[in-house]
């Protein structure tokens, strides 16, 4: 099955499909929208042991795939992930521990994201895991590579601690290959080894003067020193060579450590720069200068120290195998910049020298037979992460760790290892211009960041976590790919109601009345679900049956405080979860049922509430400026008028049904509730 078929078959939303570990982004975003924050965290954390890390430094391929990106701007997924992972509920997550230990020992070499993810998953499968770490600290590049202003050290420490709390043992300061050979591990009872040593060795620039002067430093060693608080010596005028995230991290650290000018030298143009776009923007914002289309030629020195860097300008030629255009130097364009320090950040390779003769290598990287099974040429020895792929992203490393966890578990149980599934990147389907036009635009939440001057005073985290208001608002921008209307063709009578009520014009019909609803284009407003006269349409985002169940559930839990009122509240309103809590406290007689729009409440639901024993029903719709489908509001109002007529026919005062708009902020006006209660208690009932 190709990934394309897979995506239609299983209907993975593009965000999930784009994630190397298939995080159910849509699910946790929906949970945030429903103000179920703890469950949102659990949704992330069940799959990813490092959500707070990923909420800060993941390269979020999910965002590039987001359907909303075709309409205005994609959902701010990393910010939402961080919100879910960082909230005060974060300590409440409890992993599901295995019933019993398998008694099998597994060694994990390296404590970066790959090693941590493998250790986490293997521990939860009941294996006894020991992590061997060459450095005195845990976390690999998360600890010694990524600067604290992007990823505070306590975040790394806390996430690691949660993994260690699963019973994972740690041996720091032990370099496998030196004190202990890989082969020794099996003698010590380890039945499998996962080598995840990362890529910590900077490539050499390969230019004259590189080795001759004080002040030419490799980026990894520089960042390592900075991150371990060693306060390395920093020049006044520094050139950073390279255009990846390591280069940008080095440059931004240099500014924080007193460098007066920091000059990045990159051989291609900005479009080809491999560093994350936001990172480049932040660096420039903080004052880093970038020379694009420039290559270093030679480093000059005076008295043993670096004094200048000679560069040459490039132009771009034909694309190479990676698809990036090859830079060609322009003859006679050489120029010199005065510098007293040069940082080389042109890529890293694994420092696998100590594994000589133990594992096969290719281009300094550890060779694995199958990128899914991750077993090396040495049975029982697995490898993954940057050590196998070369420098990549944190989520790719976590993905490798998780794959290794699966493979090692199968290996230990003597079962065949998985083989690579052909998973090629799939582009998100394109929305029609007409649909883009009809889709209501909502501005993406803006980042809250420290001002540049404040940042440069130290290593304080630059970006702040979203507030609850902003996070729910942002989550409500989700367009619910593949959660929308599905037609039961056996029930459909081709009445065309769905075609007529859809605010976006998505259902189509053939001449013979076969109705189709594009599951990717549908935004799950729910209009057709209720209006369908034969109930042939259902929806995955809050199916109609769920709403009926919730009414019943709410009433069954009623504390018998009269009058019993079922309150339907539109999740698109500007309220906080604490507003719902205070409503529960102030009015224990109001039983809240949260819905994605009042569109989702049918006359029969209102009648059901009365049937189950409610004395009144309150419907509070969101303010129109937050309603994603304002064009349906009038139809919904008329439906409620019909419901009121029905009630009157039954001899129930129509005033027991209150339909209102929510205030600009908060859940509902108190006077309104009091008025409804008064009407129910007072006279005016026909029977």
């Amino acid at each position: 099955m190709t990934k394309d078929e897979l995506s239609t078959e299983i209907k993975y939303p593009p965000c999930k499909l784009a994630c190397p570990i298939l995080t159910d982004v849509r699910e946790y975003i929906q949970l945030i929208a429903e103000r179920r924050f703890e469950e949102a965290l659990a949704s992330i954390r069940n799959l990813n042991p490092l959500p707070r890390v990923c909420g800060r430094i993941c390269t979020h391929p999910c965002e590039a795939a987001c359907k909303r990106g075709q309409v205005d701007e994609p959902i701010a997924i990393p910010a939402l992930k961080r919100f879910a992972a960082d909230g005060p509920w974060k300590g409440r997550y409890k992993a599901i521990m295995p019933d019993k230990s398998t008694g099998q020992k597994v060694a994990v070499v390296g404590s970066g994201p790959a090693g941590l993810a493998a250790a986490h998953d293997l521990a939860l499968l009941g294996h006894h895991v020991t992590i061997f770490e060459a450095l005195p600290v845990l976390g690999g590049m998360l600890r010694v590579g990524v600067p604290a202003y992007r990823l505070p050290k306590n975040v790394v420490d806390e996430e690691i601690q949660a993994i260690l709390d699963l019973g994972v043992e740690v041996k720091t300061g032990v370099r496998i290959g030196e004190e202990i050979k890989l082969t020794d591990l099996s003698e010590q009872g380890y039945k499998a080894v996962f080598v995840a040593i990362g890529a910590h060795k900077d490539r050499k620039l390969g230019i004259a003067g590189e080795d001759g002067f004080e002040g030419v430093v490799s980026a990894v060693s520089f960042l390592k020193a900075v991150n371990q608080g060693e306060n390395p010596k920093v020049g006044k005028k520094v050139a950073v060579i390279g255009g990846g995230n390591t280069a940008v991290d080095s440059a931004r650290c240099l500014l924080r450590m007193g460098a007066e000018t920091v000059h990045m030298v990159y051989r291609r143009s900005r479009d080809e720069m491999p560093a994350a776009k936001e990172e480049i923007e932040e660096a420039i914002h903080e004052g880093v200068q970038v020379s694009y289309l420039t290559s270093p030629v030679e480093i000059f020195g005076e008295d043993g120290n670096v004094s200048a860097l000679r560069c040459i300008k490039n132009e771009l030629g034909e694309p190479d195998v990676s698809g990036r255009r090859i830079p060609k130097s322009v003859p006679g364009s050489e120029f010199t910049i005065d510098v007293d320090m040069v940082i080389a950040a042109i890529g890293q390779a694994p420092d696998s020298s100590f594994l000589d003769n133990e594992l096969t290598e290719r281009d300094k990287r550890i060779y694995v037979e199958d990128p899914y099974a991750l077993m090396t040429t040495h049975p029982g020895v697995f490898a993954g992460g940057d050590a196998v792929t070369g420098p990549a992203t944190v989520v790719e490393a976590i993905s490798a760790g998780k794959r290794a966890g699966i493979s090692i578990d199968l290996y230990l149980r003597g079962e065949p290892l998985p083989t690579t599934e052909q998973m090629e990147a799939v582009e998100t389907a394109k929305l029609s211009p007409a649909l883009i036009e009809k889709t209501r635009k909502f501005a993406r939440c803006s980042k809250i960041s420290l001002p540049a001057e404040a940042r440069l005073k130290g290593f304080d985290e630059v970006d702040a976590v979203l507030s609850e208001d902003l996070a729910t608002k942002e989550a409500l921008r989700c367009l619910h790919c593949f959660l929308g209307a599905r037609i039961d063709k056996e029930k459909c009578i081709s009445c065309l109601t769905c075609v007529r009520v859809c605010p976006l014009g998505i259902p189509t019909t053939t001449k013979m009345g076969e109705i189709a609803i594009d599951p990717f284009a549908c935004q799950a407003c729910g209009m057709c679900v209720l209006e369908c006269p034969v109930r042939a349409i259902d929806i995955s985002l809050d199916p109609h049956s769920k709403i009926a169940r919730e009414i019943e559930w709410a009433i069954s839990r009623s504390q018998q405080v009269e009058p019993v009122i079922v309150g339907f509240f539109d999740l698109h309103g500007n309220f906080r979860s604490s507003d719902v809590e205070s409503l529960r406290q102030d009015y224990p007689n109001i039983l809240p049922v949260m819905v994605f729009g009042l569109r989702r409440v049918d006359t029969s639901d209102i009648l059901k509430a009365f049937e189950f024993g409610a004395d009144g029903v309150l419907l509070a719709g969101c303010p129109s400026d937050t309603d994603p489908f304002p064009e349906t509001a009038d139809r919904v109002k008329r439906r409620m008028a019909h419901a009121r007529t029905m009630l009157e026919a039954l001899g129930i005062d129509g005033a027991r049904l209150e339909v209102c708009d929510m205030p600009d902020e908060g859940l509902v006006e108190k006077e309104l509730i009091d008025g409804l209660i008064q009407r129910i208690k007072g006279p005016g009932q026909a029977r």
Partner: protein, 222 residues
């Protein structure tokens, strides 16, 4: 389609009183398309009856069911078990469906929950209007595709009466004079001379005036 409308609730409540175990039976074709008797309206009405019974204290269960078409014996027979377990069936079909139920379930009380109104079209969601009177002898070829039998208040065949004012019928300003529409359309088609042909007195026997209608196709029947 056959257009139906659900009866007023009070009437339904009155006719169903005393039948403790009541089956509300939907019809998933014309009645559903008229928003009078599909599953959605079955749920709504059944719920309403339950609420009303709560207030009146009437006991018994209100059940919900629906079939594709109540006018077909095979569909009707599929629900005989449900029907046998109840005291009465409240049918949300047209008159034809109600009578089919009565025929198939000889010993069961069958009640109509809808009024059958007309043969018509959907102008837009929620708006239907009459187009055909089922007169059994179509003349639309002579009247520019607009039916004076169904749409002229007086069923006139040879032009409008004196009550046609500004294109509207004298019975209401909301009713188009169909003869005005016929003349306008024939003018557009450049076929106005067609009106020179005088319609003879209409034979109403195919319209049912000759007794209940029945149609038999020898080639199809068993």
């Amino acid at each position: 389609m056959i257009v139906l409308e659900q009866k007023k609730f009070q009437e339904i409540e009155k006719m169903t009183t005393g039948y403790n175990r009541l089956l509300v039976l939907g019809c998933e074709t014309c009645a559903a398309m008229s928003f009078a008797g599909g599953q959605r309206q079955v749920a709504e009405l059944a719920s309403a009856i339950r609420v009303a019974r709560k207030t009146t204290g009437e006991q018994g269960e209100v059940l919900e069911e629906a079939i594709a078409r109540q006018c077909e014996p095979e569909f009707v027979d599929l629900i005989k078990d449900e029907v046998s377990g109840c005291d009465a069936v409240l049918s949300l079909a047209c008159g034809a469906g109600v009578q089919m139920l009565a025929e198939r379930f000889q010993d069961k009380v069958v009640l109509p929950g809808c009024n059958t109104t007309f043969l018509g079209v959907t102008e837009e969601l929620g708006v239907w209007s009459e187009r055909c009177a089922g007169c059994g002898n179509c003349i639309l070829d002579k009247t520019a595709g607009l039916c004076p039998i169904a749409r002229c208040s007086k069923q006139l065949l040879n032009g409008p009466c004196g009550g046609s004012m500004n294109g509207k019928c004298e019975i209401s300003k909301d009713v188009d004079c169909v003869w005005q529409l016929i003349i306008d359309r024939l003018t557009r088609l450049n076929r106005l001379e067609m009106l020179e042909e005088i319609f003879p007195v209409k034979d109403w026997s195919p319209a049912g005036h000759g007794g209940p209608r029945k149609m038999v196709r020898e080639d199809l029947k068993s």
